[in-house]
């Protein structure tokens, strides 16, 4: 047993589980890095919002979810989709506008979904997927399933009224929903202080009578612990919960580059957060506890590199949708 991870005292963590968490984070990181690298090829002809630096949140959350639990996400959905078990090829095909994309190429990077693993949908409009996730929770409750819905949201989306309407309804009906707020301190280039008063975001959830906690979003074990508690509550009918996870986006808001030179955030802040890299944070502890060594890490990376390379090769060779299908599926059925 690996014990005593610094940020999460008292947590006893199974080394193979911890290594899995590490592998998941590493995989997402490497996929995102590869997208960034290849973006200039202009084969992915759509906006991309990378989650590099924020991998611990979806990995910690997904660790306690079932396949049949339902997840909704935002414009920054790659990591949520991958962590929930979304298909990498279908994702890359989607980014490249191919017929085998999860949306048949119609949505692009902000519409990732995969019903087969409970990734219900992602939407590019800030906060728009929040009520939809709550609606999924309502449906789960109506159908008397003991699955839960997880709603990912950014720090900006609590500024949208619809977050509050959704939180209120979920509280009134004690719906099985867990709100996961990735607070990365920015909405595009605008800092939290310019947009919200100085109070914890979790206070908003408490105002609605929700069970709310704040965690270090770069500590995957802390996230997992909070998720485990929140999901248990939701699943057992004790109602909705809210997790505020503090984290940081490394690259520009939209696109593959770094953008600190724009001056909207300081180099010092950025460096500080890089030092709190969620991967290295966990790796250090795993290493300290003998659960991960250089060779193992290199093996993991090699395995993932191969998977990614194959997926890109596949997607780049995949066919485009036929132009005359453009008008299909305006209506269902």
């Amino acid at each position: 047993m690996v014990t005593g991870l610094k940020a999460s005292p008292g947590i006893a963590l199974d080394p193979s589980l911890a290594t899995n968490l590490f592998r998941e984070m590493l995989r997402i990181r490497m996929i995102e890095e590869e997208i960034a690298k290849r973006y200039r090829d202009e084969k992915m002809r759509c906006p991309v919002h990378l989650s590099i630096g924020q991998e611990a949140v979806p990995v910690g959350i997904s660790a306690v979810l079932r396949r049949s639990d339902q997840v909704v996400s935002t414009h920054r959905c790659h990591a949520h989709y991958l962590a929930k078990g979304g298909d990498l090829r279908a994702m890359l095909c989607e980014l490249m506008g191919r017929a085998e994309g999860c949306c048949g190429g119609r949505g692009g990077s902000m519409h990732l979904f995969d019903p087969s693993v409970g990734m219900l949908l992602s939407l590019p409009i800030v906060a728009a997927s929040i009520p939809i996730g709550v609606g999924a929770a309502l449906a789960l409750k109506q159908a008397k399933r003991d699955d839960v819905a997880v709603v990912y949201l950014g720090d900006a989306s609590v500024e949208e009224g619809v977050f509050h309407e959704s939180a209120n309804f979920s509280a009134v009906h004690r719906l099985p929903v867990v709100f996961v707020c990735e607070n990365n301190l920015y909405s595009v280039y605008t800092s939290l202080e310019e947009r919200q008063p100085p109070r914890p975001i979790a206070d908003l959830a408490r105002g609605h009578g929700l069970h709310a906690v704040a965690v270090d979003g770069n500590d995957v074990v802390a996230v997992q612990r909070a998720a485990s508690d929140a999901v248990r509550r939701a699943r057992s009918g004790s109602g909705p919960a809210f997790i505020e996870a503090a984290t940081y986006r490394w690259r520009e808001h939209c696109g593959p580059n770094f953008d600190n030179t724009l001056g909207y955030r300081s180099e010092a802040e950025f460096e500080d957060w890089k030092r709190r890299d969620p991967l290295e944070f966990l790796a250090r502890h795993l290493t300290e506890h003998g659960a991960l060594n250089e060779t193992q890490r290199a093996d993991l990376a090699a395995e993932i590199t191969a998977e990614i390379a194959a997926a890109f090769t596949y997607a780049e060779a995949a066919p485009y949708p036929a132009p005359d299908t453009a008008e299909h599926h305006l209506y269902a059925g």
Binding site: R106, L120, I125, S166, N168, F169, H329, G333
Partner: protein, 360 residues
């Protein structure tokens, strides 16, 4: 044969909802007042007693969020029927309806379905003023991926609402409040009317009058009066605005050569504009005269009866328009007009016309 059963449109809606709730466990109602003692103009009255608060769900005053919640539940296979007591409130929910619901099937390449019905009540009368009396169907009609329905008679209310609830797409179901009072024959059993285009209400040969919702009644009355002066007309109830199927309209205009469109909402950039545009594109050669448009003038609804009196066009205006297109003698137009004025029996225009109670 037993006499046909005659009920009001409000009763027809209630019966439809009850049948849908009974037949399909995935149907549920959602709305402000849906479970209250008055039940949305009687259309949901008492349903909570039969089906319970999990099927007849009272909602907070949060139109946008609850629309999203309805969409989310629909994606999971439920069939929510949401109601807004006034379309003016539904403006809060257009982001969800236009961005999320309308595009769901398309963007997922047909993998998502949103079997959502949104009832929106439009209306007029009793000094409701500018923010409680709009008819905003033109907004919805512009958005691909929505279906947009405007019933006129009780028979249509029931059949179209069943079809809307059965449909796997988001359907905007626009009910004129005054039509709730209208009665007509409605079979007790379940039936659906396909969401696929207009219906021919009256057949004449002199001109084509296309109307929607409440204006269908005005057109029917005008048609009767015009027939009385030897000028029978086609009256077409637009009924399903989206998917837009102009076939019947084009056919009619090809027969009559003359077109009058009547909007329940604003004339400018309205429903009638599209009908005219389609005809001018596809049946241009059949048109013998300039088209005529009837609809609300280009300003908000004033509350004062003194100002509202000129706001709402009616059968008289339809008679005038047809009279002009058909070169009717002035005496014939006056006679027809006199008939519809008499039928109204001096009732102020802020109260429903008792002669419009039906049966239709």
């Amino acid at each position: 044969m037993p006499a046909e059963r005659v009920i009001t449109a409000a009763e027809a809606v209630r019966e439809t909802l009850a049948q849908a709730l009974r037949d399909r466990p995935e149907v549920f109602l959602l709305g402000e007042g849906v479970a209250d003692p008055t039940g949305i103009f009687g259309t949901t009255k008492g349903l909570v007693d039969e089906f319970g608060p999990d099927r007849v769900v009272e909602m907070p005053v949060a139109e946008n969020g609850l629309t999203g919640i309805a969409i989310g539940s629909a994606l999971m296979g439920r069939r929510p029927v949401m109601t807004h007591q006034r379309v003016d409130f539904a403006l809060l929910s257009l982001e969800q309806l236009f961005n999320a619901a309308a595009k769901s099937s398309y963007v997922t390449n047909g993998r998502h379905r949103v079997p959502l019905t949104v009832r929106m009540v439009i209306g007029r009368g009793w000094g409701q003023g500018p923010q409680h009396s709009q008819s905003l169907e033109a907004l919805f009609a512009h958005i691909p991926g929505l279906k947009v329905v405007m019933p006129s008679t009780p028979y249509e209310f029931k059949g179209l609402l069943h079809a809307a609830i059965d449909d796997d797409n988001p359907v905007i179901f626009i009910e004129h409040r005054w039509l709730h009072y209208v009665s007509g024959p409605v079979p007790p059993e379940r039936y659906a009317i396909a969401l696929s285009g207009p219906r021919l209400v009256e057949q004449g040969s002199k001109a084509t009058v296309v109307a929607n919702s409440y204006m269908v009644l005005e057109a029917i009355r005008a048609s009767a009066a015009l027939a009385g002066v030897g000028c029978p007309i086609d009256v077409i109830d637009l009924r399903v605005l989206r998917p837009f199927d102009p076939t019947l309209i084009l056919e009619s205009v090809r027969r009559t050569g003359k077109l009058v469109v009547c909007d329940t909402g604003w004339r400018l950039f309205g429903i009638g504009s599209e009908i005219i545009a389609t005809v001018a594109e596809r049946a241009f050669d059949a048109l013998k005269k300039p088209v005529a448009r009837i609809g609300l003038p280009d300003h908000p609804t004033p509350s004062s009866l003194a100002l509202a009196e000129t706001y709402y066009p009616g059968s008289g205006d339809i008679i005038d328009a047809v009279g002009k297109l058909c070169d009717l003698p002035a005496a014939a137009v006056s006679a027809a007009r006199a008939e519809v004025v008499a039928a109204r029996r001096g009732i102020p225009i802020d109260k429903p016309d008792p002669a419009f109670k039906g049966p239709f």
